[in-house]
Symmetry: C2
Subunit: 204 residues, 2 copies
Amino acid sequence: MTGTAPRRRGRPSRTQSADAPATRDRILAAAREEFSERGYDKTSVRGIAKTAGVDSALVHHYFGTKEQVFEAAVEVAFAPALKVRDTVLEGPLDEVGERMTRVIFGLWENPVTRTPLLAIVRSAVNNETAAAVFRRLVAAQLMRRIAGRLDVPDAELRTELAAAQLVGVAMMRYVIKIEPVASADPEQIIARIAPVVQGHLTGP
Amino acid sequence: MTGTAPRRRGRPSRTQSADAPATRDRILAAAREEFSERGYDKTSVRGIAKTAGVDSALVHHYFGTKEQVFEAAVEVAFAPALKVRDTVLEGPLDEVGERMTRVIFGLWENPVTRTPLLAIVRSAVNNETAAAVFRRLVAAQLMRRIAGRLDVPDAELRTELAAAQLVGVAMMRYVIKIEPVASADPEQIIARIAPVVQGHLTGP
């Protein structure tokens, strides 16, 4: 009715079968973006498909349910953390606090890794399914592995309280953005936080 | 069509003008409930009005916009924290870490005060308006007042890092519920956290 012909011809479907790994990656990237911006509740498989330029059925084909897409996106987001986990675990135990603090800060300071972390935090805080994914991945794969290296009886609780200090700083600096912590020099914060993390992990 | 006459006769409006303070309190209680359960984004003035059994116009009359209802609900939620703030500030400075830790834990352990705290955290993490309210109330009224008592140059940053340890534990214990911290004995956690809070506030 308004002049030029409509350009809609159904959803785009370029390279769907020709280049499966690229399509899968594009869906994952779209999922990360959607979950980061909207959180778990407001993200739909349909929205992810639209952002990725594929049909919803293809999202289900590669990943299954929305929860499973979320889990895959979180796994990708945590891949750098899991890689550096070994860095955290290697080296002298009396410097593990500083290594852990630097690694986590590095992930938050880098916009590429910050976006998916924000998605995870926002989703886990508001949705039990997302919280369960967080517990499964972060608690089991990251924290319990660090706890396994500590030679103390309450290693898991210690690791969690150390992680809590880092989670709390991340919340206040990157999520809620309270000053002065939001704009403070990272080294100033690391200098104060690393000994606390070390104390939780190996202190008396 | 299905037998008995419908009971809907418009929204209930009992005691609206007769008992203004009670109505105002009922709206606030409804707001706390709605914000806790749904978070800021998904809560509407209409929903609050419905839960309170009043007309939406009355919510606007008493509080103004949704942001202002939220701010009022947060203020009520933080009233116990602001009351105990003076408890935290009174007494010897070398025990301020333990007082602050016990006060914050007390608020989280009590279901009556936990519900609004959950509402604040969930909302502030996902919504910039709610985050601004959090910054205004919590940062300005709670943390800066504690910082004002510390005789150190970086008092505000120290107070925020102390608060970050408490916020992080609350996130992992009450919001995301990671084990073993979620089920640990409060005294066991306080014993480990209080010295950290003290160290942030008055340590070297």
